[in-house]
Point group: C2
Chain length 397, copies 2
């Protein structure tokens, strides 16, 4: 249960937790030689305050954090300044102009950055996006606890999936039942993705050959979708005996999400699919053993690829007609956080990382197999935050 | 029914329709003195091709449109060039360097624009966003037909709402039933908003006092939401006699959407609420009569405001604790298109505009009232694309 919160207080985090997050950011700022950052992105303001609001958070390397609020009205707290437009930030800062200023250059539109630059006419402009991505990739215990609590609900919803199937259902009909079950369990629905080039509604249900339909989006698996305006996921395929159903649904129950995939089937499936599914499970085991602070992310990718080749499954790995370029990613407030588990990734596994691993396969005429779990990395161990049965489940009919 | 489409062809529009849209863009480019534009945003590439893909569309003022595709694999058609990174665009353009180039500066992140600029080292950089917004605001007959078809399904879903209510339901429980009904009717779910500062999942169900909870987002109405990570909409309020239930759910059934709001209630409600609801309906009638090509958008806003003041309802208009600054907006591929019906809008109503009007009220202790319809503007008339009964409906129990 969530404790009752005073929604008039701007800061919905405890003071200690707020300080921990600011400190993480300041360490990354220091590494990047940054005097101050100005934060505007919803995911980043939520990280810093525990709420989404319209406005800016100004974090100097030294001195007090200032919250510039446009909306909603009547938020209270220390260092809360109401503004109507970003230019008013100048008045509050006065002569405390930073030597350089980090702006969210990888997310904020060009025109908005040009406007923000004018607030700091004498300051060198730097990119705060890598700083924020790195700080957010090393979760606090409180953040991991939120993800763990999303995971519990996520697992609970998945446990009901075998009972949601009815004979003759299409992928969409099943997906709608899972959406409803998720929502009644408290799923917020919002699927936060950094940047606006990737789009997905509530998750992905892939049946049979549709798993191999190439998608324009940078997801591990594709699917044709219902309409070319949203070419991903379910496409009204009927679930038939011998096909697999890969389910990768939204796990956002409190602002932090888990990412989890499981496979279901109607009756017997091809032994090749079972072999590939087992390979995915075995890759998880091997990678979890390697997922220690200090390990290079690309080494995990290479280990997985070697296991796939040993078993002669490379033709099916991460898609058949189009292959995804990564097998894992950080997850938290957004679905595409650091680190990225990819062949040319420069990321290093760190304590506090929360990582979704998703080695998957597409077997022609059968469908997609493999699992995805979300893991928290600690100094001395790894915790699975999506502890659901991993074998292929069979629909109850 | 949608005709079967060949998904391997890049262009999913007819040649004529494609030419009409390119011509609209070129007229706007010419007004802005733009030699070429480079399009990357999903909504804009969908507008130009009838599909979302990962890549760029290059439109010179004179000469052929070129499609640079990163994903998905194997799209076919004239002037389709596969690239891995934007820098490869240079090779194809060769010596055909435009004098100036319009980039989507209001949408594309700063870092991405800096990278795109390097493709055109000798060209002046201009802002293509206003050009694309204006071209897209003047819909073709084919676009209006898609919106009309979304409207038919949207109206059908709303007609079932009175039967979805069960005694003791909360706003969320009702919303989940409407979500399911919408999805089974073919709703794609995706709620496209230009920019990433506004967030909403599938729509907004506001019961009683929650209608007045201020939201950080720039929607006409707010709501506290279930969680501070997504502070908008339903907040688990039980639907009680005397309260109104305002329903503003996703109308995207084919890539183009209608925007429609209706009000429901459980038993008798305060006469003040009925009076305000009737005022909203009357504003619609008055504004539809004025919504002719050439009319200034702000004049519509002023007329509505005058009607509200005549009836002494200004305290409740567009929110009670926090007031929205607009009463209408263009709608199509995205929910926040041109024109904007606001006091300082410089937009002029034009043929082909599709406009959602939403004069709404919040009545203390009762909830939100008022309706929203989507209208198409023609040379000589206005068509309502959301023709559902406008009076407050009562739940069946």
């Amino acid at each position: 249960m969530m404790e009752p919160i005073d929604l008039n207080k701007l800061l919905l985090l405890s003071h200690d937790e707020f300080c921990r997050r600011v400190e993480k950011i300041r360490v990354c700022m220091s590494e990047a030689g940054m005097s101050a950052v100005l934060i505007n992105d919803n995911a980043n303001t939520y990280y810093l305050t525990g709420r989404v609001f319209s406005g800016y958070v100004y974090i100097p390397q030294h001195g007090e954090v200032i919250f510039f609020v446009k909306r909603p009205v009547k938020l209270e707290g220390d260092c809360v300044v109401y503004i109507r437009k970003p230019e008013e930030i100048t008045e509050t800062l006065g002569l405390n102009v930073p030597e350089n200023i980090g702006l969210e250059l990888d997310i904020t539109p060009y025109s908005a950055v040009e406007r923000q630059k004018k607030i700091f006419p004498g300051s060198e402009i730097k990119n705060a996006s890598p700083v924020m991505r790195k700080a957010r990739s090393q979760k606090t215990a409180e953040e991991i606890d939120k993800i763990r609590r999303s995971g519990i609900k996520h697992v609970h919803v998945y446990s009901r999936i075998p009972y949601l199937y009815n004979e003759g259902m299409t992928d969409m009909e099943l997906q709608v039942e899972i959406e409803k079950t998720s929502r009644l369990e408290g799923c917020l629905g919002q699927f936060r993705i950094s940047g606006d080039s990737m789009e997905l509604y509530m998750g992905n249900v892939l049946v049979g050959e549709n798993a191999d339909a190439p998608s324009p989006y940078d997801f591990a698996m594709g699917g044709a979708g219902l309409d070319p305006s949203l070419p991903v996921g379910a496409n009204d395929t009927e679930i038939k005996p011998g096909n697999t159903v890969m389910i990768d649904m939204n796990g956002n129950y409190n602002g932090y999400m888990t990412d989890m995939t499981r496979v279901y089937a109607l009756g017997k499936i091809d032994p090749l699919a079972l072999k590939a599914h087992q390979c995915s499970i075995d890759i998880h085991r091997a990678l979890v053993d390697m997922m220690k602070p200090g390990t290079e992310a690309k080494v995990l990718y290479e280990r997985a690829e070697a296991m796939v080749k040993e078993r002669g499954l490379q033709d099916y790995y991460m898609g058949h007609r189009q292959h995804a370029g990564f097998i894992g990613h950080g997850v938290g407030i957004e679905i595409n956080e650091l680190p990225v588990i990819a062949p040319r990734s420069r990321d290093i596994i760190a304590e506090g990382n929360v990582i979704a691993l998703e080695p998957k396969f597409v077997i022609p005429h059968v469908g997609a197999v493999g699992i995805e779990n979300t893991y928290a990395v600690y100094a001395d161990r790894v915790e699975c935050l999506t502890p659901a049965p991993e074998a292929i489940s069979y629909f109850m009919i």
